[in-house]
């Protein structure tokens, strides 16, 4: 049933397109010069039909559920809802809907069965109404578009204007969604800071986000000092970058300047595939391979090593970031004009000297930009650390210790049956906010560097 309006729309679009093209052709074969090519007349009709009608259908379908529900609830026999709380009323609504869907538990009262019948009736009526409205609207628009076809009608400009508005709309959707997310995050964060002082969160060294289950529990007041959590993220990200930056850079330099074309043609696609591996796979790699290997190596030289070390999580994250850094650095090196390479080589520089003294300095802004973006990926990375890092926040910078990370804490704080208004859950939003601010600052910085450098050679 829901598909019918869309099918009507599709048909209307095709018909409108065809009719307008035919009409435009007829004008041209009649000897007149068209201002716009035929297919623009067709597209004009298509867009004119699809855009408003599709908008109508989407809005209709979005509102249909709640309007129908409202109608049903207000048509219940008087008295049955008296004295019930909003939660219980919602439950009754849900029960009616499931009866309408054919899932009947026990023996519901008669008025519920009747309400379910009414619900189905309203839904069907709404469906038919929608189909009728869409059909009429499409027909009207097709006729309107057809009536516009004329030799001097500027169909191309019309199409361009509609497309322009569509593009603006899409861009605005993305922006407003982001703004909405940030607003929600900010709101929850502020609620958190009403319960826990900002200073404790920012400077406290103790992270024990428990909350009392019973009022009289002792020593259960949670501690929300986020410093050790951020320290853990920093340790893990540092390990990751210590691995990813040198390896990625050398890979890029090798591929860019020294490798034979045959090797480059093999290695580049492999790196691109690596960049697309889901991070959960890297997580498995960390717990199944890297962490045991590190522990065994530690035992063999007599060093106590935790089972979920920062080294394992950071190391695997570093491997994940290698393709990221190498492709950024490769792009930056390739963007240095060939004439600079030739200039250095023609002076008798070896390829190594040329790379070190000319290419690399010229590419540095791009490379630094890439590294900064890698940093923000490292601190925002979730799956690998959830799988491979620890849960307990410790004030340590020893990579052989178990540390936790901001994203890990966010995940654990939100798991479980806690409601959304206690400090434990709200702390997750505060952590998320901090993470958001940190990555935002780094990204803005990185993009600015990259852009500045682009200006030099283009």
């Amino acid at each position: 049933m829901t598909a019918v309006p869309f099918i009507i729309l599709l048909l209307a679009a095709i018909v409108g397109y065809a009719i307008n093209i035919q009409a435009a052709r007829a004008i041209r074969s009649g000897g007149d010069r068209l201002h716009s090519l035929e297919h623009f007349h067709g597209l004009f009709s298509l867009l004119l039909v699809v855009v408003p009608a599709l908008t109508l259908v989407l809005i209709w379908l979005a509102l249909q559920g709640s309007i129908v529900d409202g109608l049903v609830m207000s048509s219940l026999p008087s008295g049955v809802l008296d004295g019930l709380g909003s939660g219980q009323i919602q439950l009754i609504g849900a029960e009616i809907r499931s009866i309408a869907g054919g899932r009947i538990f026990g023996t519901p009262e008669n008025w519920k069965l009747e309400a379910a019948d009414r619900l189905l009736g309203y839904r069907q009526a709404s469906g038919w109404l929608l189909v009728t409205v869409v059909t009429l609207m499409s027909l009207g628009l097709i006729f309107f578009a057809r009536s516009k076809v004329a030799a001097e009608f500027r169909a191309r400009q019309g199409v361009e204007r509609i497309t322009l508005w569509l593009m603006i709309f899409c861009a605005v959707v993305a922006i407003f969604t982001t703004v909405g997310i940030v607003a929600a995050l900010t709101f929850e964060t502020l609620k958190f800071f009403q319960r826990v002082p900002v200073t404790e969160f920012l400077f406290g060294l103790n992270w024990e986000p428990q909350i009392p289950i019973r009022e009289d529990q002792i020593a259960a007041e949670g501690a929300f000092g986020a410093v050790p959590v951020f320290l853990g993220t920093i340790v893990i990200a540092t390990v990751a970058l210590l691995i990813a930056v040198p390896v990625g850079l050398f890979t890029a330099i090798y591929l860019n300047e020294f490798s034979p074309t045959s090797i480059r043609n093999v290695v580049k696609p492999i790196l691109e595939i690596l960049a697309g591996v889901p991070t959960v796979v890297y997580g498995f790699f960390a717990i199944l391979v890297v962490a045991p290997a590190i522990r065994q190596f530690g035992q063999s030289i007599g060093v106590e090593v935790a089972s979920n070390t920062a080294l394992a999580a950071g190391g695997v994250m570093g491997i994940m970031l290698i393709p990221f850094i190498s492709s950024f650095a490769d792009d930056a090196l390739s963007a240095v004009p060939r004439s600079l390479r030739d200039g250095a080589l023609a002076l008798g520089a070896t390829r190594g000297e040329m790379m070190l003294n000319v290419l690399f300095p010229a590419a540095i802004p791009g490379i630094v930009g890439g590294i900064l973006l890698a940093v923000s990926r490292a601190i925002g990375e979730t799956m690998i650390v959830v799988m491979a890092a620890g849960l307990i926040a410790r004030m340590t910078i020893n990579p052989l210790d178990s540390v936790t990370a901001v994203t890990v804490q966010i995940v654990t704080l939100l798991i479980g049956d806690t409601s959304f208004d206690n400090p434990k859950t709200l702390a997750a939003f505060a952590l998320g906010m901090m993470l958001f601010i940190a990555t935002l600052v780094i990204n803005v910085f990185a993009l600015r560097i990259v852009r500045k450098y682009r200006e030099i050679y283009d």
């Binding site: 004009p337 200039g343 080589l345 023609a346 002076l347 520089a349 070896t350 000319v358």
Partner: protein
């Protein structure tokens, strides 16, 4: 045997700086240079002219082995400089390029200071024992390139901040700084305005007394103004080579004549 077929005058062995014999160049399957034989005289300017795509740049890049940096490029035949085969496996192209400098079509100063641009070559080849010697090389190179007066007060400023003509003279100074014997120039004035062009041409004329210069140019007037000898290339073949004056006033080959009178190209 040292004469090219169309040469107007006799040449003696002692007058040859660069000698090419039966040189072939391929880009993959494209045969870009076919059987080129030429002798280039020391301390003079030789111009390569010809319609674009005829292989002038390709042949020029054979002389300092810059073609080695192009993967698909293959060079056959023999090229000697001072009697030494530059494609001999014993020859290090890096050292060869210190001896045979090159200036490119578009000025390509490094994004470094003017001083560092000039000092780059001497530094990588270890030509200066200390800062004073390096300073001396930088200033004398700039003087030889006629850029000293314009640049002496701004040695620390980036080379890319100079005007196009100044940048090109900076690139010439950069090439001179490593003490080359030969300087190759691939259309060095094609990106410059007429005044900057005149300055560079003047400079080329001065440099002739100390260096062997080979210049590719698409402008016949330029060839006539700066060169003593001219070689005309067409479709990868060296059609005719001789005294510039002879090539322009009395070409032996029909194709040269057509090109010079502007019938193609």
């Amino acid at each position: 045997m040292f004469d090219t077929p169309h040469s107007a005058i006799d040449e003696r062995l002692s007058d040859t700086k660069i000698a090419a014999k039966k040189v072939q160049v391929f880009y993959g399957d494209t045969h870009a240079i076919k059987d080129v034989d030429i002798n280039i005289q020391p301390r003079s300017v030789t111009a390569f002219i010809g319609p674009s795509g005829c292989g002038k740049s390709t042949f020029l890049r054979c002389l300092n082995r810059m073609n080695d940096t192009i993967d698909i490029c293959r060079v056959e035949g023999e090229i000697t400089i001072d009697g030494e085969d530059i494609y001999d496996p014993k020859v290090d192209p890096v050292q060869l390029r210190a001896k045979v400098g090159m200036v490119f079509q578009k000025p390509n100063p490094f994004p470094k200071s003017i001083y560092d641009n000039i000092a780059y070559g001497p530094r990588i080849h270890g030509l200066a024992k200390n800062k004073a010697e390096l300073d001396e090389i930088v200033s004398s190179s700039l003087q030889k390139a006629g850029l000293w007066n314009e640049a002496k007060d701004r040695l620390d400023e980036p080379g890319t901040g100079l005007s196009g003509g100044q940048q090109q003279r900076l690139c010439i100074a950069r090439a001179i700084a490593v003490n080359p014997e030969v300087i190759l120039m691939d259309e060095p004035c094609s990106a410059l305005d007429p005044i900057a062009t005149a300055k560079v041409e003047e400079l080329i004329d001065e440099l002739r007394t100390n260096y062997t210069i080979v210049i590719v140019t698409h402008s016949m007037q330029q060839a006539a103004r700066v060169s003593q000898r001219t070689a005309f290339f067409h479709l990868g073949i060296l059609v005719e080579e001789g005294l510039t004056q002879d090539i322009f006033t009395n070409p032996q080959d029909k194709r040269t004549q057509d090109y010079i009178t502007g019938r193609f190209g």
